[in-house]
């Protein structure tokens, strides 16, 4: 199904704004984009096909990240050289992700236990469930460890920022080598930068997520960027990757303009409300709540897939 075939009832428009408000609020509260919740929930709650949910979410993300980059620019924390170099890898990854989604779109349906279901629905549901489990468990484990340490019942275990694997990647001497003065990096292989861009771009193009949960640690631990520069450059990268994602998904008719508008209105307001509350709540308990929320998402995706199988 394409954006042209998917008719969005006008009665749903206010509900989509409310939905964007909730997801934007959660994103603002937890300090994340919320793309990984947005796409599966659009499919589960509103029945938006995955390809249209991904394309439209990238449109919403493009607007949100543009606003955030405009606000962040005054801090001067963006490494433009790194950002532009990474864009090459990111754009290639986004295109590869979008092409995978195109293949899934025309893959037809398969029979599972005597029921017909679209290949795209099965693959995307499984991939999203895996992504949500991965993110959820990482957040829950990290927040529980922090809470334990703060209460004094757990021994302090220093987290090594440079594992041997990371050191090997950082010291890779595969030409061409580039220097990134704004990040204080003397010399690093261009291929490492491109690989990070490609990996996050692939996730963005296929799943409609910003990929900050991979790019941020990669910038800090693999490249060795200062955290403030990593935050600014990550934003800059999300802006370009989502813009390219919208562009390529528009050519595949996966972007539903009314959906983008409704989500953008909701998330813009919601993220501000969420961000204002996070100051009051803050801390590891917020991250624990976020982690548990990801598991709720997994359950909802599972239930939806089960219903699809039953009705197929």
């Amino acid at each position: 199904m394409t954006a042209g075939d998917f008719v969005l009832g006008m009665a749903n428009f206010p509900w989509l704004i409310v939905f964007g408000l909730v997801i934007g609020g959660l994103g603002g509260f937890f300090g994340v984009g919320g793309g990984f919740l947005m796409v599966p929930m659009l499919n589960v709650v509103f029945g938006v096909p995955y390809n249209i949910a991904v394309g439209s979410d990238l449109g919403q993300m493009c607007g949100m990240s543009t606003a955030a980059t405009v606000r962040h620019m005054r801090f001067g924390n963006i490494d433009f050289k790194l950002g532009f170099l990474m864009i090459v890898g990111t754009a290639t990854g986004v295109e590869a992700g979008a092409q995978i989604l195109e293949v899934l779109k025309v893959a037809g349906s398969i029979t599972i236990a005597g029921h017909h279901v679209e290949v795209m629905t099965v693959v995307m549901s499984v991939v999203y469930a895996a992504l949500l489990v991965f993110l959820g468990q990482a957040m829950v484990r990290e927040s529980l460890r922090t809470m334990k340490r703060e209460s004094g019942s757990g021994a302090f275990v220093p987290i090594s920022s440079t594992t041997s694997y990371v050191v090997r990647l950082r010291s890779l001497r595969l030409p061409p080598m580039v220097s990134l003065p704004a990040s204080g990096i003397e010399s690093i292989s261009l291929w490492v930068i491109l690989a990070i861009g490609f990996a996050t771009g692939l996730l963005s193009g296929m799943l409609g997520v910003g990929g900050g949960f991979i790019r941020m640690p990669a910038l800090v631990y693999i490249l060795g960027c200062p955290t403030v520069v990593a935050v600014g450059t990550d934003l800059f990268e999300i802006m370009f990757s989502s813009a390219y994602g919208v562009f390529t998904h528009a050519f595949k008719a996966n972007v539903h303009l009314v959906l983008v508008l409704a989500l953008l209105v909701g998330t813009t307001i919601g993220s501000q409300i969420g961000a204002s509350y996070t100051r009051k709540a803050g801390g590891p308990r917020v991250r624990l709540g976020f982690g548990l929320l990801a598991f709720v998402g997994v359950i909802m995706v599972g239930i939806k897939l089960w219903f699809k199988l039953r009705s197929g």
Binding site: G59, A67, R71, H72, A253, H256, V260, L261
Partner: protein, 63 residues
Amino acid sequence: MNFIQWLQQLGTDADPSTPGFQARALYVLMCLAMPVFIGLLVGFGLRTIERLFGVELGRGGHG
């Protein structure tokens, strides 16, 4: 026809399953221009509010 109906209309002929399909230029342009325009509006708007009232608003998602 209001703006939302116009947006809905813009995407209705987008059918890539047709041989030789080419997305309408206006549709592609709107897909990119609308979010960027709203993003710029919100970003500069919030910056202005922060400057005028001397407050720092939350960064929200993607920020």
